[in-house]
């Protein structure tokens, strides 16, 4: 069945007794409140990491048309990567040699390379082009809200009034290392929270240095302490940071790759059970007007270093996500405000351009190259640009609809008229909301996972199964039964049970569904 279908429908649960903190409780009955809960869960169990490459990334030097080396040589011989050094993606398309980690992920089917993404009438101003990409506007349209902000406004109506809630105790979105992105600006308020580093005394930006021991320093420290205490989600973030961990050995030394440092924080927070759905991270320096590559060794230099950082950060993160068991919950997206010119300049650099490729990564991504190589003129002039093949909003639409499960109506409110590119597994074409009963048995990944104390598990019983005996049992890794969550006949529909592991130690557990003859098991991780 389609994931969206699974999630979108209200939970027609009757009464299933289940164990929660050692007590038998009444399960959910159907109510408007619970319908809301279902949509919230749909909105929050999946995570987007948006990686902004500031300055305008030279896409032509990142995803390389192997079939057009003559044109490349004519346009940019002083910066061009030698053909033999290019990492092959397909017969026609290759990757910058600095991106070995990303290349490996691609070969595992976890990276979609989307060719020539842009929008009609491209703008060459950093400020304006960034505004366009973050708001999701047309070239000549001024929007005051961001595309992610509009999505979050749909998913969490009324935010911030009443938040944090029991269902969503954590920030909806987190920006790491700078101010909250305009992309997270909702129709009326910003839906995001900016933090620097949750492992430091002050997580809010701008307070990295210790004030002097003076009366002014004394008062400044006081105000900072109140500001930290007052930050709505400060404690939730610190809590997750203290419980979270990172396991990958691929993380580079702290301070050597700022993007990796930011994504490591994301991994730590996800590991600690933070339910935040969107993280925004960034890497600057892509405005390579000069010295983009080292003459004579074009696979080194500024751009190579930057692409290496992107590749290392993504591969370390995905490695960590796999080790900790949350890789299925994450999709990442890179973007830059524009690409650069086809023809390089005399300063071994490139000037502001137009369309460029981007990456969508994650285990739930349809890996491969989407679209065809840009067609380069035989002898590019200094004003030649790469033409748009895909509107950037179609990439966003895939995230909003096929990843986050927004309805067609919601998508149209967020990104009017945009059809998703087929980037997400199981995502697709219809956009028609399915309100019928499930068509197959399904055991869903628990959410949150990893979890601290409490989590929820959903399973589906198809319409044609009628009422079936269901047993949902949790085992520890030695195979010992630790909890029986469901043991009774259950009718068709989506069912949800809570699991409160208050009496259990940290570690991995398996939960197993047997519904009639259908058996399915999944793993979950308890973090204390």
């Amino acid at each position: 069945m389609k994931r969206r279908t699974f999630l979108r429908r209200a939970i027609p649960v009757s009464t299933i007794p289940f164990l929660l903190g050692g007590h038998t409780l009444q399960a959910f009955g159907r109510s408007p409140f619970l319908d809301g809960l279902a949509s919230l869960a749909a909105a929050t169990d999946r995570v987007l990491i948006l990686i902004q490459l500031n300055g305008g990334n030279d896409g032509l030097n990142m995803v390389i048309p192997r079939d057009q080396y003559a044109a490349l040589a004519a346009a940019r011989s002083n910066i061009m990567i030698a053909e033999s050094r290019v990492l092959a993606l397909t017969a026609a398309t290759g990757l910058h040699p600095a991106m070995t980690g990303l290349h490996a992920l691609y070969n595992e089917g976890k990276v979609a390379v989307v060719q020539s993404v842009g929008y009609p009438s491209p703008n060459f101003s950093h400020f304006r082009a960034t505004d366009i990409w973050l708001t999701g506007s047309d070239s000549n349209q001024i929007l005051s809200s961001g595309w992610m902000g509009r999505y979050l406004d749909q998913a969490y109506p009324g935010f911030p009034t009443g938040y944090p809630t029991v269902e969503m105790p954590d920030p909806l979105a987190i920006q790491i290392g700078s101010l909250v992105s305009p992309g997270l600006q909702g129709p009326s308020v910003s839906m995001g929270l900016a933090i620097t580093n949750p492992n430091t005394t002050y997580i809010l930006p701008g307070a990295e240095d210790t004030p002097p021991n003076t009366p002014a320093g004394h008062e400044l420290t006081f105000v900072r302490d109140v500001a930290e205490q007052t930050s709505l989600y400060g404690a939730a973030i610190r809590n997750a940071a203290s419980k979270g961990k990172t396991l990958s050995t691929l993380w580079p030394t702290a301070g050597s790759n700022s993007l990796a440092d930011q994504m490591k924080i994301v991994a730590q927070l996800m590991s600690g059970g933070l339910r935040t759905g969107i993280y925004v991270v960034s890497l600057g320096g892509f405005d390579t007007h000069a010295g983009q590559a080292v003459g004579g060794a074009t696979d080194t230099g500024t751009h190579a270093t930057l692409l290496s950082r992107v590749s290392v950060a993504i591969s370390a993160f995905m490695n960590d996500a796999a080790l900790q068991g949350f890789q299925d919950r994450v999709v990442g997206l890179t973007f830059s405000e524009f690409g650069r010119r086809i023809k390089s300049n005399a300063s071994t650099g490139t000037d502001h351009g137009a369309a460029a490729p981007l990456f969508v990564f994650g285990s739930n991504v349809n890996g491969g190259v989407v679209g065809s190589n840009p067609v380069l003129p035989a002898a590019a002039g200094s004003n030649d640009n790469i033409a748009m093949q895909f509107d950037y909003r179609r990439v966003y639409a895939a995230i909003v609809k096929d990843w986050f499960g927004a309805t067609a109506t919601q998508l149209n409110a967020i990104l009017p008229g945009q059809q998703p590119l087929p980037l997400i597994k199981g995502g697709g074409a219809t956009g028609v909301e399915d309100t019928s009963l499930p068509v197959s048995f399904e055991l869903r990944q628990n959410y949150p996972n990893p979890f601290n104390g409490e989590t929820r598990i959903r399973f589906a019983v198809p319409a044609d199964a009628g009422s079936v005996p269901v047993r949902l049992v949790v085992y520890d890794m030695t195979g010992r039964e630790v909890a029986v969550l469901v043991d009774r006949a259950v009718g068709a529909g989506i069912h949800e049970v809570g699991f409160a592991a208050t009496h259990l130690a940290s570690g991995a557990y398996v939960y197993r569904l047997q519904a009639g003859a259908h058996v399915e098991a999944r793993k979950m991780v308890l973090v204390r």
Binding site: Q26, P169, A235
Partner: protein, 571 residues
């Protein structure tokens, strides 16, 4: 089924989780539990002779006005210290009256209501509320639109010193008259002001002078006059003995003041008090004071004013009286910690100047504002802004224009007044006769202004004023961040832009890390020259909406963030 039943233990667990709304019930969680022991200035009231540069000028303007405007800062840069002090110590807008914005205030829109009858005999409508809205708007507007003078800060000081509260007085004409006295004497003679305060209608109502009679003396005003308004309460030296005065002196002072009542039939006019003296209510016996006043006796008299003057003469002869006021001025203008060095080097010599000048405050203020102590680096940036300083300060920093139409203008002023009130400083309505606790409650003092409720309110206000603005009647009260930026000395240079705007906005220097962060907010990941290019793109075509919007949103984000930084709470 209610939610709690449904979710059971989950809800309880979630509620027990400390993450949402951490500890809002304890606003003093971080405030001083004892006075800070940071290094303190040892300098005193001797004249400052060091460098007279931007840092000193900005400091003077920050402490003596409701936030310096770029225009003030520019004007003062070429002034000598003497010229700057002459300007700061000049009176300004002494005669000002609130105007009606609504015909329900009983006068035509645009006219003042302060001379008008309290009620229209032909109507059941009570204009009190509307007039108070006008009064608070007017007063806040005077702060917002003040010139570069200490006048408005002193008016508020006297309000905090000689308190009356709207919710007790509840007569806008009386309270305007009271405010008018504060304005007339703001930079004048404290003793004169004390006399007029004693006899003004608002105060007679506020502290029960109205019911202070020969047969039933009411001690309220006689007590506060000494405890708060003049000599101040010293340490308890014995039963009923407060070192500076005693309970017997409270009773004696109350007798002196018997017979005075407010008189709402007297319309405000210069030289005529809105009060009356009724001899039959007055205790004409001789009043015996304690040893704390040298066992002085005030002879009974029948004209009312003779005894009041004798009482004030007696109190103002005490050395402690001048010191009490100087300590309050110190906490208003410098810092709240008064250690032995400050007492000896600042308070005592300043009190001497006040006494030598027969309680004219200007010479003492001048001495303070030209002292080595005032400009001591340890005294810069250590005051937490009061809500009014914060709320009125932002529009001043950005020179935000106000509408011409009186009704709309007063709505804008009232918006600032209500914002300040929500942050715990309600003009014309201090919390008690002692004024705002931030200026007397030890050891927290200024830190009382900032808590988990008020700090987010401050951030919300600054964010609103910089970004969306406050809209009323078709007028948008909003910072013009583009003009502010364009007026900086070298706005095309991003380092200069950050440096110069920070110097206007902050009283404390930012660190290199902070400046780098601010720069990144404007040009994330871009080389410096891209700011110049983007800014030039706009400057070359300022009518182009997309180009304007491109720089506007970035600058708004920059300044909104700067104003939300803890550093901006300091002055």
């Amino acid at each position: 089924m209610d939610r709690r039943t449904v979710l059971g233990g989950m809800l309880d667990a979630a509620l027990a989780d400390p993450s949402p709304h951490a500890n809002p019930s304890d606003p003093l969680a971080f405030a001083n539990t004892e006075l800070p022991n940071t290094p303190r200035a040892l300098s005193g009231l001797e004249p400052y002779t060091g460098l007279w540069g931007r840092e000193q000028i900005f400091h003077l303007l920050r402490r003596t006005t409701f936030g310096p405007s770029p225009v003030d800062l520019q004007a003062f840069q070429t002034m000598s210290m003497t010229a700057a002090l002459d300007m700061i110590l000049s009176t300004s807008a002494v005669d000002s009256k609130p105007l009606a914005t609504d015909s329900r205030e009983m006068v035509a829109v645009g006219d003042t209501w302060v001379y008008s009858n309290a009620r229209d005999p032909n109507s059941t409508f009570d204009p009190t509320g509307a007039r108070y809205t006008s009064l608070k708007s007017w007063w806040t507007g005077l702060m917002l639109q003040q010139s570069a003078s200490v006048m408005e800060k002193m008016v508020l000081f006297w309000h905090d010193h000689f308190v009356t509260q709207r919710n007790v007085v509840n007569e806008p004409r009386f309270q305007w008259r009271y405010i008018d006295l504060l304005r007339q004497h703001a930079l004048g003679n404290w003793k004169d002001l004390a006399r007029e305060m004693t006899l003004t209608g608002a105060m007679l109502r506020y502290l029960n002078g109205n019911v202070n009679t020969r047969t039933n003396p009411n001690e309220n005003y006689g007590r506060e006059l000494q405890e708060l308004f003049t000599i101040g309460k010293g340490p308890l030296a014995g039963p009923g003995d407060y070192t500076t005065y005693t309970e017997a002196d409270v009773k004696a002072a109350a007798k002196v003041l018997t017979g005075w009542q407010d008189d709402s039939t007297v319309l405000p006019q210069p030289g005529v008090r809105p009060s009356k003296f009724t001899l039959s209510r007055h205790d004409t016996s001789a009043k015996q004071f304690s040893a704390r006043y040298g066992n002085r006796t005030i002879a009974g008299s029948t004209d009312g004013i003779t005894e009041v003057n004798a009482l004030l003469d007696m109190i103002f002869e005490q050395e402690e009286t001048a010191k009490h006021l100087c300590r309050k001025l110190y906490r208003w203008f410098v810092y709240y910690v008064i250690d032995e060095a400050v007492e000896a080097n600042v308070i005592v010599p300043m009190a001497n100047i006040l006494r030598q000048n027969n309680y004219n405050v200007l010479p003492a203020l001048r001495a303070l504002f030209q002292s080595a102590h005032f400009y001591d680096p340890l005294n810069i940036g250590c005051m937490i802004k009061s809500p009014l300083e914060f709320a009125a300060g932002i529009p001043r920093i950005f020179s935000m224009p106000t509408p011409a139409d009186i009704a709309t203008k007063y709505k804008v002023f009232y918006y600032i007044a209500t914002q300040s009130a929500a942050m715990q400083q309600d003009i014309a309505d201090p919390p008690s006769v002692a004024g705002w606790p931030a200026y007397y409650q030890t050891p927290q003092f200024y830190e009382l202004w900032i808590n988990s409720d008020t700090l987010p309110r401050r951030a919300t206000l600054s964010n609103t004023l910089v970004k969306n603005g406050y809209s009323t009647s078709g007028f948008k009260f909003v910072a013009d961040v583009i003009t502010f930026t364009a007026n900086l000395p070298d706005s095309r240079n991003i380092d200069a832009l950050i440096e110069e705007s920070a110097r206007i906005i902050f009283a404390v220097p930012l660190t290199a890390t902070q400046k780098a962060f601010l720069k990144q907010t404007l040009i994330p990941g871009l080389p410096d020259y891209e700011w110049t290019l983007e800014w030039d793109l706009y400057l070359a075509d300022p009518g182009n909406a997309t180009k304007r919007n491109a720089v506007l949103t970035k600058l708004q984000a920059l300044y909104a963030f700067m104003l939300s930084m803890p550093e901006f709470q300091l002055q």
